[in-house]
């Protein structure tokens, strides 16, 4: 089964380079990636439902990770979406435990190899506890 990913820039964050490059490289890894552009949590979850996504990728460098990131997980679970939610961007180390507690499966900082994101996805997809 091909893994399906929806990738979004979280909220107003404008830096699209990372999200787009990761999207393309996950396609190279054989996944289907729908790049949503900038979206707020409601629309991201809506898109994940419509696309039947296995993974929701959130990208942010704008400092909104703690407010908007957990909201995506919460909304998704409320709507019965068990997709793996992962995040990338410039995120302080100290915030990572908080994000994981809120249900973000993993946080990928600058310099992460896309290959290792793909490996993480393969190992964890479908194993999310709702």
């Amino acid at each position: 089964m091909q893994i399906k990913v929806v990738m979004a820039k979280l909220g107003l964050d404008i830096h699209w380079r990372g999200a787009l490059v990761v999207s393309r490289m996950l396609r190279d890894e054989g996944m289907e990636v729908v790049y949503l552009g900038n979206q707020f949590p409601e629309q991201i979850v809506e898109a994940a439902i419509q696309e039947g996504a296995d993974v929701i990728g959130l990208s942010t460098l704008g400092g909104n990770h703690l407010t908007l990131g957990p909201k995506v997980v919460k909304l998704a679970r409320e709507k019965g979406v068990d997709a793996l939610v992962i995040m990338g961007g410039v995120i302080p180390e100290d915030d990572i435990p908080l994000l994981k507690e809120a249900g973000i499966a993993e946080v990928f900082g600058p310099e992460t190899k896309v290959e290792s994101i793909a490996t993480f996805i393969r190992e964890h997809v479908g194993k999310t506890i709702g």
Partner: protein, 569 residues
């Protein structure tokens, strides 16, 4: 003798000597080098082939006075001012911006006290993207990554106690739609304080590429509308704010998003061309506005290429202004630029190494003749700079200014066979890229069609692949990575979390005390003028004086100009 007496045929080197060097070089290759040239081919960051050794024959076509000249004279290769840094040192300009305007005002005062010579402010994302702090879209972003500005009150608080008539104010407004509002607020503030417009000096970034190609967002104005607002701000400033730079063509962020040094400069110049054509169409003369156009470059680690880029960009600009637009005044032909060191080259692993990277890039900026400089802080990959890391950036600039002596003489690398060769080569590649853009209908059309987005995305993708497969080496990351040193502890900067509540409270009070009817009237005038071939700036200024908010004005733009689908997938 005048400059016009330059002998157009006079070459820098005696051609007989050049032929002798060429012959000797052939011999040298066979007898001395004998294949000891190392493995493979060498290239600069933007793909220019680099030889083992440069000699006069590599620049044999150069005519010194015509192609290089003297400082403060065309073609400005050697710098835009005759005395360069002896006359005035480059401005130490460190960006600040977080929380409420009051918070950022405190940081301004800290930086000025420690030797910054101008202010530079970055705005939060809701402000940049045209939403008030109490807008649902703003949630989670207020005062993060920049300062929140909602109304004229906030601009007044931001510059409280800052001598805006004495030092220059750089405002990183990024988008034209934000620029027109913030510039109107700045002018309105001066008007209220009784400071004549002639005394205001500063810069707005104001680049439609930021709105429609470099940064993405939820709701984006069409390129044509954004370009129109960009031109409105430039035209207004050229008529009313004689010392204001109403645009800083943003090669910087384009490069951060994903281009090489050639495309960085070429896109910015193509934008200057488009602007000039539009303002001339509106009945302005090139010499009325060209002297206030300014540029913003990004300097990577390829030291000589970046210096050559700075020098080459001045030549190509001078050519465009003089030959294409027939600018007569000297000031209309000289390119002034700000440099920020390259955030994207800074690593998260072993972050203190970034101090070395930024210092090298900053030195290149000064050797390239920059007018002002921001040195990125070592904690770039972690957060916005802390007070401590921002201070190291200022110190880096001060070390370059005072301890290295590089500022004592003009353009010290001139005459290096390699640097002159690279300058010539960069200039030609910049011209070619501009021709490519023009063959596709000009820069606005290249954005509209998504061509530029694809160029950026392809470059970013390739770069990441090169890093992952090790062709592009980054110290500490894929070259001599050291596990024990990778995780140096870095103190991160925390945005004040109280900004959102404070800004919302201020807006609530503002909306109660202002004259709602007048605000509505002024907004309706803007609405009507959006559809006419007029400059919107005076109408926007009228509205901000009645305390119409930034979000309200930009909502008018969104309704009247419509929204555009950002062409990325």
């Amino acid at each position: 003798m005048t400059k016009t007496n330059v002998n157009q045929g006079a070459k820098l080197f005696n051609q007989e000597v050049v032929r002798e060097i060429e012959a000797q070089k052939e011999r040298w290759k066979k007898e001395t080098v004998k294949g000891k040239t190392g493995d493979g081919e060498y290239f600069s960051d933007s793909g220019i082939p680099v030889n083992l050794l440069y000699t006069p024959d590599d620049i044999k076509e150069l005519n010194y006075m015509k192609d290089i000249g003297l400082s403060g004279e065309a073609p400005y290769v050697r710098g835009v001012y005759p005395n360069m840094y002896r006359g005035r040192l480059f401005t130490v300009r460190q960006i600040a911006g977080y929380g409420t305007p009051e918070d950022t005002n405190d940081r301004f005062k800290f930086l000025l006290k420690n030797g910054a010579t101008g202010t530079s402010v970055v705005l939060d994302l809701p402000t940049i993207r045209g939403y008030d702090s109490d807008d649902p879209e703003a949630e989670g972003h207020v005062g993060a990554a920049g300062v929140a500005i909602d109304s004229l009150e906030d601009i007044e608080a931001l510059y409280d106690g800052i001598p805006i008539d004495e030092i220059s104010s750089n405002i990183v407004t990024h988008l034209p739609s934000t620029t027109v509002v913030i510039m109107a607020m700045f002018a309105a503030m001066a008007e209220k304080k009784g400071i004549p417009f002639e005394k205001l000096s500063g810069t707005n970034q104001n680049d439609f590429l930021m709105e429609t190609a470099i940064g993405s967002s939820l709701e984006v104005l069409p390129p044509k509308a954004s370009f129109r607002l960009q031109c409105d701000a430039i035209e207004f400033a050229s008529k009313n704010l004689p010392r204001w730079n109403p645009v800083s063509y943003n090669g910087y962020n384009l490069r951060e998003a994903g281009t090489d040094a050639v495309a960085e400069v070429a896109c910015a110049l193509a934008n200057a061309i488009a602007t000039s054509e539009e303002l001339i169409r509106r009945g302005n003369k090139i010499d009325d506005f060209a002297k206030r156009l300014s540029f913003f470059w990004n300097l990577y680690n390829d030291f000589f290429e970046e210096i050559a880029k700075c020098r080459a960009s001045r030549v190509v600009y001078q050519e465009i202004m003089k030959e294409r637009f027939k600018a007569e005044e000297m000031k209309s032909q000289l390119m002034r630029f700000h440099v920020q060191t390259a955030g994207i080259t800074l690593t998260k692993v072993e972050p203190l190494n970034n101090i070395a990277r930024s210092a090298i890039q900053g030195l290149a900026a000064v050797l390239g003749g920059a007018q002002s400089l921001h040195v990125d802080s070592y904690d770039e990959a972690y957060s916005a700079p802390t007070e401590e890391s921002a201070l190291i950036s200022i110190r880096t600039q001060q070390i370059i200014q005072t301890e290295t002596n590089v500022v004592n003489t003009v353009d010290p690398l001139a005459g290096s066979y390699f640097v002159e060769y690279l300058t010539k080569e960069m200039a030609q590649r910049i011209r070619d890229y501009i021709s490519e853009i023009e063959s596709r209908g000009g820069l606005v059309a290249c954005v509209d069609s998504g061509w530029l987005h694809r160029e950026i995305a392809d470059f970013a993708y390739q770069t990441q692949k090169d890093i992952e497969n090790g062709t592009r080496k980054i110290v500490g990351l894929n070259y001599f990575p050291s596990e024990e040193h990778a995780g140096q502890k870095v103190e991160v900067f925390r945005y004040p979390e109280t900004a959102e509540a404070k800004q919302k409270e201020k807006l609530k009070r503002l909306r109660q005390k202002r004259d709602a009817k007048k605000v509505e009237e002024k907004l309706n005038v803007i609405r009507e003028m959006c559809h006419k071939d007029v400059n919107l700036m005076p109408y926007i200024k009228d509205a901000v004086l009645e305390y119409a908010t930034l979000g309200e004005i930009e909502e008018v733009f969104r309704e009247e100009f419509g929204l555009w689908q950002f062409p990325l997938a």
